[in-house]
Amino acid sequence: MDVEIPSRPILVYGYGNPGRQDDGLGPVLVEHLEAWAKAEKISGMAFDSNYQLNAEDALAVAESRAVVFIDASKEGKPPFEFHPLKPQKEISFSTHAMAPESVLALAVELYDAKPPAWILTIRGFSWEPNEPPSAAALSHLSAAREYLQVWLRHEISSQR
C-alpha cells in the first residue's frame, strides 16, 4: 500500500522586534502572510517569527523544502530587496543572534540539509521603542507582501 508522505513545507520566517517600530517588519509581514494563506486556503507553508534567528532555527530549516527569511533593512533599496542566500559562516562579537546564512550553514553541518533559501529585506526608517511600524515602512511592507504572495503561489504550484 502506498503511503502518502507529507511534503515538507516552505518555511517563511520573519525576525525582529515588533516593539521597535520598523525593526518588526519581518514578524508583521509573516502575520499578514499567515492570515492570507489561511484565507486563501493555501497549504504547504509554515510560518514562524522571533526576535532573532538562533541555533535552534537550523532544525526548522532542515525540516523545510525551502526557506524565505524576512527582515527589516536600514540601508537596503526601497521598498524591498529579494535575493537568494547561501550557507556561510559568520563571526560575531558577543552577539546573541545568528545571521541567516549562519543558520543555513548550521543546518548543513548538523542535519546535512541544504534547502534553497532567500531573504526579503524591507527598507525601514524608524527604530524607536514604539508600535506600529512607520507609515513609510508600512507602504514598503505592502509592496513586499504583494510580491511575496505571487512568489509563494508560484513556488507552491510548481511543486504540485
Partner: protein, 487 residues
C-alpha cells in the same frame, strides 16, 4: 603623552560598545574603559501608559531576554495591584511564572555556553576567528552542537507554553498569569518524545558540566587565572539562603565572604543601592551605599549568585555546587572564567526546576489571579540570566505610570567588565606594542564571561564591525584590526 586603543562595535540602534585602553609612553596600561551606549529613553517612554501594559511594554527593551523584563515588570505591578511583594500569588500563578523563568534561563545559558563560550574552550581564544563560533563547534563536535540546538528549542517551547507566544508574551499579568498549562502541554514538555523532554534536558545539562570540568582539568591555569580579580557579589537569594532566580531577598558579600547587604527587602533597594555617573560613559555605575562609590561596586550573574547563596535547592545542582565551593575552600570565587562553571551549574538547576515544576499538580491549576488594595508604586526584582534586574514603577491614581526606574544586569556589571578589560590589557600589552588578533580575542573572552547585552533590543540586516585601533602619542595610527559581523 598616552596612546589609545579603541574597540568600537557599532549597531543600528543602541547596542553599541567600545573599548578604549590608554597607554603611557612605556606601553603600560594607564586606564581601560568599556563603554556601552545604554538606552535610557525607555523609562520615559513608559510614562503615561496604563500600568497593566507594563509587563508587555517592557519586552520592547530587549529582544535577547524579553522574558526577564516581562516577569520583572509583572512582579512590580503585582505590588501595585495589591497582590503582595512576591508571596501573594496563587500557587499556580507563581509556578507558571517560575517555569517560564527557568525556561528562559535554560535557553539563554545554553546559548551562551554552546554558542559563545564553548568555541573559545574547544579551539582557544587565539584560534582563527572563522572557526571560533557555533558552526566551528558543529564541525568539531557535532553531538555537542546538536544538543545546543535541542536545549535551546526546549527552552523556547517552555516559554511559548507559559508566555503564550515567542514574541511579546502575555502570560504574566499584574496579580498573576492569564493561563496555566493544559495537561497536553505539560505532558509534552515533561515526557515528550526524545530528546525533547525534561529528563533528557537534565541529562544533557550534566553532560555539558562534564565537558567543562574535563576542559578545566586540562587547562587549570587559564581557567583559574584569566582576568581574575576580587570583588563584592550581589544577588537575590531565598530567605533561607537557597539559590532562587525568581524571588527572594537582596544579599551581598565581599571578597572575603562577609555579608555587606544582609537579606534586604527588594522593595527597599533604593536604601541600599546607588548609581554613580561618570563623564565618559552613558552607563551608570551601581554601588552599595553602605560601602561607598570607591569600593562598593559588585558583580552580578552566575558567579555572584553562587558566591552569595548558601545552597542550591535541587539535588544534582547542589552536588555540583559543593564541588564548586570546594574549589575555593568555601570562600567567594573571584575567577572570571569560573563564571562559565557557575552558569553550567545553573543550567542543571534550571533543568531540575523545570522537571519538578512540570510534575507539580499546581502547574495545571485554574486559580490564576489575585488582587488586593491598590498601591502607588512597586518594585520587581528578578535574577535574569545575566544577573539582577530591577524594575521600579510609580503609578498615579489615574492608573497611568508616572515614573519608571530600570537597572539591568549589564549595568550592575559595568565596573567588573571595565576591570576585566584592564586585566587582559595589562597582560597582553606587556608582550607587544601591536594589537594582535589574540589580544582582541582575549578582550572579547573577558567581556563575554559577563554575557553583556550589547545588542540589547533590535537588529536588522546591517553590520556591526569590531575595530581595534592603536594610536601613538601624537595620534598617528600605529595598528588597526577589524572584524565584520552582520550584527
Amino acid at each position: 603623552m598616552t596612546r589609545k586603543i579603541v574597540i568600537d562595535p557599532v549597531t543600528r540602534v543602541e547596542g553599541h560598545g567600545k573599548v578604549t585602553i590608554h597607554l603611557d609612553d612605556e606601553g603600560e596600561v594607564l586606564q581601560s574603559r568599556f563603554h556601552i551606549v545604554e538606552f535610557r529613553g525607555f523609562e520615559r517612554f513608559v510614562q503615561g501608559r496604563p500600568y497593566w501594559e507594563a509587563p508587555v511594554l517592557v519586552q520592547r527593551l530587549c529582544g535577547i531576554c524579553p522574558v526577564s523584563h516581562h516577569l520583572a515588570g509583572a512582579k512590580a505591578m503585582d505590588v501595585v495591584v495589591g497582590a503582595g511583594t512576591g508571596d501573594g500569588l496563587t500557587a499556580t500563578a507563581e509556578k507558571i511564572r517560575r517555569l517560564m523563568h527557568y525556561g528562559q534561563v535554560f535557553q539563554s545559558h545554553s546559548l551562551h555556553f554552546f554558542h559563545l563560550a564553548s568555541p573559545d574552550l574547544l579551539f582557544g581564544y587565539d584560534s582563527a576567528p572563522e572557526t571560533r563560533n557555533v558552526i566551528g563547534v558543529a564541525l568539531a563536535n557535532r553531538e555537542l552542537a546538536t544538543q545546543a540546538v535541542m536545549m535551546r528549542k526546549y527552552g523556547q517551547e517552555v516559554i511559548a507554553a507559559t508566555a503564550g507566544k515567542k514574541i511579546h508574551g502575555t502570560g504574566a499579568i499584574p496579580g498573576g498569569v492569564n493561563k496555566s498549562l493544559s495537561t497536553a502541554e505539560r505532558d509534552a514538555l515533561l515526557q515528550g518524545p526524545a530528546p525533547l523532554n525534561a529528563d533528557q534536558m537534565v541529562a544533557w545539562s550534566q553532560g555539558a558540566l562534564e565537558f567543562f570540568k574535563d576542559y578545566y582539568r586540562k587547562n587549570k591555569d587559564f581557567i583559574d587565572n584569566f582576568s581574575r580579580f576580587s570583588s563584592n557579589h550581589l544577588s537575590l537569594v531565598r530567605k533561607d539562603g537557597g539559590l532562587d532566580l525568581y524571588h527572594g531577598v537582596l544579599r551581598a558579600v565581599d571578597s572575603e565572604g562577609r555579608r555587606i547587604l544582609d537579606d534586604a527587602d527588594p522593595q527597599d533597594y533604593l536604601q541600599y543601592l546607588g548609581e554613580e555617573v561618570k563623564s565618559w560613559s552613558y552607563m551608570k555605575f551601581p554601588f552599595l551605599l553602605a560601602v561607598g562609590q570607591e569600593n562598593g561596586w559588585y558583580r552580578v550573574g552566575p558567579l555572584a549568585r553562587l558566591n552569595v547563596a548558601d545552597f542550591i535547592p535541587t539535588p544534582l545542582a547542589q552536588r555540583e555546587f559543593e564541588a564548586f565551593k570546594a574549589a575555593t575552600g568555601g570562600q567567594p570565587n573571584d575567577m572570571c572564567m569560573h563564571t562559565h562553571w557557575a552558569r553550567l551549574i545553573e543550567i542543571l538547576h534550571a533543568a531540575e526546576m523545570m522537571r519538578d515544576l512540570l510534575q507539580d499538580p499546581d502547574i495545571t491549576g485554574s486559580r490564576l489571579i489575585v488582587k488586593g488594595k491598590r498601591q502607588a508604586e512597586g518594585v520587581g526584582i528578578i535574577e535574569a540570566p545575566r544577573g539582577t534586574l530591577i524594575h521600579h514603577f510609580r503609578v498615579g491614581e489615574d492608573d497611568l505610570i508616572q515614573m519608571a526606574n530600570l537597572i539591568v544586569s549589564t549595568t550592575h556589571n559595568n565596573e567588573p567588565m571595565n576591570r576585566a578589560v584592564g586585566c587582559v590589557a595589562r597582560k597582553m600589552l606587556a608582550k607587544t606594542k601591536e594589537i594582535t588578533e589574540g589580544m582582541l580575542n582575549a578582550i572579547e573572552v573577558a567581556i563575554r564571561a559577563y554575557d553583556p547585552c550589547l545588542s540589547c533590543a533590535t537588529h536588522a540586516y546591517g553590520q556591526m564591525p569590531l575595530e581595534v585601533s592603536l594610536f601613538d602619542s601624537s595620534g598617528r595610527l600605529l595598528s588597526q584590526r577589524r572584524k565584520n559581523s552582520r550584527f
